[in-house]
């Protein structure tokens, strides 16, 4: 590249680079620095503690591990349910059933509603006294006490349904787009060879959709680790140890307990976890790319 051309490139990249540095790199570097301090977030009084916040978090904080366990639950159970359901419905909708377009829109509909609104909707569905779910179940539970869906015994299971409900449509549309790109001739050839629908799905759809599935898994893993709004709103801003996740624990430590430095250390660990989990998932799901 000619020298003056390189200069032009640098000149054009400079504004974007400056914005990136100011809006992303500087806050990240500041966060990393602040995670090494004991700081209440209100006053100028900061005490350098080195890696003390991280040592405490990983060595002497049982709530962090409880929260991580819950994140692993949200990373795995809703991921499996959502992927299975989305693949199933995508396969059904591509088989040219009547009203497929209607179902596509219907399934995607929760994606246009904000997560807070969805959470409030489910909050009312789960209400033990006037909630829709108990009203439906009441004939089957005569004389029994109402099921308290959001009590410590049920809350984790109860949170899976809204997650699946609101994310299903997105992955359904993703898979449908992927499936639409698979040439029909492959299925025709498989039919000629006597393959049944399940064999066609397993041997044609899944391998040719693998990149899309990998992307979906990565999205769901990131979502499972970063989950906050659903838990926070469903718990009325007060998640107990029965539904605490890392992001809500971060908020609790930084803002409720005035341990801002410690909260930032949790954020750094969460970032590392998301990064590591994404890398592991992509490594495990890496396959030779199929050209078609």
């Amino acid at each position: 590249m000619r020298r003056d051309a390189r200069r032009t490139v640098v000149l054009f990249l400079l504004p974007a680079g400056a914005l990136y540095a100011v809006l992303f790199l500087y806050p990240v570097a500041s966060s990393l620095a602040l995670s090494l301090y004991d700081w209440d977030g209100f006053t100028q009084k900061r005490t350098f503690v080195g890696l003390g916040n991280f040592a405490r978090l990983l060595g002497d904080d049982p709530m962090f591990w409880t929260a991580l366990k819950h994140n692993l639950f949200f990373l795995s159970v809703p991921t499996v349910v959502t992927l299975t359901a989305a693949l199933f419905f995508a396969a059904v909708l591509t088989s040219r059933i009547r009203g497929a377009r209607f179902f596509r829109i219907t399934y995607f509909f929760p994606n246009v509603i904000s997560m807070v609104a969805i959470t409030l909707l489910w909050f009312f569905i789960y209400n033990p006294n006037f909630g829709l779910l108990n009203a439906v179940l009441r004939p089957f539970l005569p004389g029994k006490e109402p099921i308290v869906w959001l009590d410590p015994n049920h809350i984790m299971g109860s949170l899976v349904a809204p997650i699946v409900w609101c994310s299903l449509g997105f992955y359904l549309v993703l898979f449908l787009a992927g499936m639409d790109n698979i040439p029909q001739t492959y299925y025709d050839a498989a039919k000629v060879d006597g393959a049944n629908p399940w064999q066609q799905f397993r041997s044609i759809t899944v391998p040719l959709l693998w990149d899309v599935i990998t992307m979906a898994v990565v999205f769901l893993i990131i979502g499972g680790l970063r989950i906050f709004d659903l838990i926070y709103v469903m718990a009325l801003g007060y998640p107990t140890e029965h539904s605490q996740v890392i992001a809500t624990y971060l908020y609790e430590q930084a803002f409720s307990n005035a341990h801002m430095g410690y909260g930032i250390a949790i954020a750094v660990v969460l970032f590392a976890l998301v990064f590591a989990a994404t890398a592991v998932a992509m490594r495990l799901m890496r396959r030779e790319r199929l050209e078609y």
Binding site: F42, T43, P128, N129, D151, T240, A258, H259
Partner: protein
């Protein structure tokens, strides 16, 4: 592709005529920048002017939490202050999330001159962000021949001391009690119980009448803490109670606390709490009570004010103190209180004004007015004469109390408070045993004890406790 809007429309001017190049485009672009700069200059100038006024003592900025008490009372106090202090303007503002607005103000070194907010004020005091009021409390109170310090009830004021310094003044005050439906009790011939045995007998009678005895705010399980700790105080006395407030080693595994936790769990097992209560918010549970679907509800004396808009006409409520334990070491007259606190920031522009406003706010007249208008007790002597009749039993509880205490560990150590709430939810739903509950809280207390980041606090039992 959508066409780019003409620059003039962005700047608010007329679009260029025909297809001519927008000649004024180059002059239109800087306009928003200039406008923004002017706006910032004006805002900045106003802020600077306000700070100058505050520094000169001509203005006092006050921030109030906008909650159940509203802002009207505080606004009226501000106006009356201005009337009696000509030349001084009180800029009082309220917000349900004033904590979010105050955080950057504290960080920027420009906090208001007085505030009431759900900030971690003990951490602020420890960080040197609050003004110590010791000297101010020795000055005369407004309208009385006593010091400002002596105008407060001693129990509430004792909760404000951090290492010999007072950083807050207590204002609204609540007593934790058991509320009951007067009509329901009259109809069935039930009477407020004097002992825990009588209380259990009462709960059985209510159950037999087909009514759920107690509504419970299960989504906020710390509403069970007053039941647990008052029972513990009645059983064990003052020393063990203050030991657990002060996080003394082993205090949370005291056998009487384990026994009290067992009683709480038994109340759940026996069906004394309303079915489904663990899924109810405080307002849902309290609605069950005021709509006569339960006979009682444990709550602070703020209940009447909190439910004022939703209480059906004709519903009458009253309250009784947590019952005595026959043979227990604790004085059954002792009452648990909770308080609201106002503070003066150390870096406020008008500290003197902030202190004086708080003195005015807590004057006898304003305390009486608050008690009368807001149906709430106030931490100033004599204000209890003005509360509603429903609160008369609560006033008697306070007057007869040998001493009052507040669960200060919840204020001092939010982490402990949260783990107690978690544990109470697990205990009441049978996920952990009473022994496990106490051990888990003790473990958290031990972690806080050895945590160098967390300042440690103490409150001694009042002298009355020893007599």
């Amino acid at each position: 592709m959508a066409a780019e809007p003409p620059a003039a429309s962005l700047a608010g001017g007329a679009p260029p005529a025909g297809g001519a190049p927008p000649a004024h485009k180059t002059v239109a672009r800087p306009f928003p920048i200039i406008a923004a700069a002017l706006l910032l200059a004006v805002v900045g100038g106003c802020a600077r002017k306000e700070r100058v006024e505050r520094k000169a003592g001509r203005e006092i900025e006050v921030s109030a939490f906008l909650g159940g008490y509203g802002l009207d009372f505080f606004q009226e106090v501000a106006r009356s202050y201005e009337r009696t202090h000509p030349g001084v303007k009180v800029n009082l503002w309220g917000d349900p999330r004033n904590i979010e607005k105050l955080r950057p103000r504290f960080l920027g070194g420009d906090p208001p001159d007085a505030f009431w907010a759900f900030l971690p004020i003990w951490r602020l005091a420890d960080g040197g962000a609050l003004h110590a009021l010791n000297a101010d409390l020795d000055t005369p109170a407004y309208g009385q021949d006593i010091s400002w310090r002596d105008s407060f009830l001693p129990g509430p004021l004792a909760t404000t001391v951090v290492e010999g310094k007072t950083y807050f003044v207590p204002t609204d005050m609540s007593v934790f009690v058991m509320w009951y439906s007067v009509g329901m009790f009259k109809q069935h011939g039930w009477r407020p119980p004097a002992t825990w045995d009588e209380f259990f007998t009462l709960c059985e009678s209510i159950k037999q009448a087909g009514i759920a005895p107690i509504a419970f705010q299960g989504r906020y399980p710390d509403y069970a803490l007053p039941i647990l700790l008052n029972l513990f105080q009645r059983k064990a006395g003052a020393r063990p109670l203050f030991a657990l407030i002060n996080l003394e080693p082993g205090a949370w595994t005291h056998p009487d606390l384990v026994g009290s936790a067992r009683t709480l769990r038994e109340m759940m097992v026996k069906g004394y709490f309303q079915p489904g209560c663990m899924g109810m918010t405080h307002t849902e549970a309290q609605m069950e009570f005021v709509n006569a679907r339960t006979a009682m509800v444990p709550c602070g004396t703020w209940l009447k004010a909190e439910m004022a808009n939703t209480t059906p006409k004709g519903f009458e409520m009253s309250c009784f103190a947590f019952p005595a334990v026959p043979g227990g070491k604790g004085d059954p007259s002792v009452a648990e209180i909770s308080l609201g606190y106002w503070c003066v920031p150390e870096r406020g522009a008008n500290i003197e004004g902030g202190v004086d406003f708080l003195k005015w706010l807590t004057s006898q007249d304003n305390a009486n007015k608050f008690a009368r208008e807001k149906d709430t007790l106030f931490a100033v002597k004599g204000a209890d004469r003005y509360v509603a009749k429903e609160l008369a039993p609560a006033v008697q509880i306070i007057r007869r109390a040998k001493y009052t205490w507040a669960p200060m560990m919840s204020n001092w150590y939010p982490e402990l408070s949260k783990r107690i709430a978690d544990g109470l939810a697990s205990l009441m739903t049978g996920n952990i045993t009473p022994e496990e509950f106490c051990r888990r809280v003790e473990d958290t207390a031990a972690r806080i004890r050895r945590d160098p980041r967390t300042p440690k606090y103490r409150i001694e039992p009042p002298p009355e406790a020893a007599r």
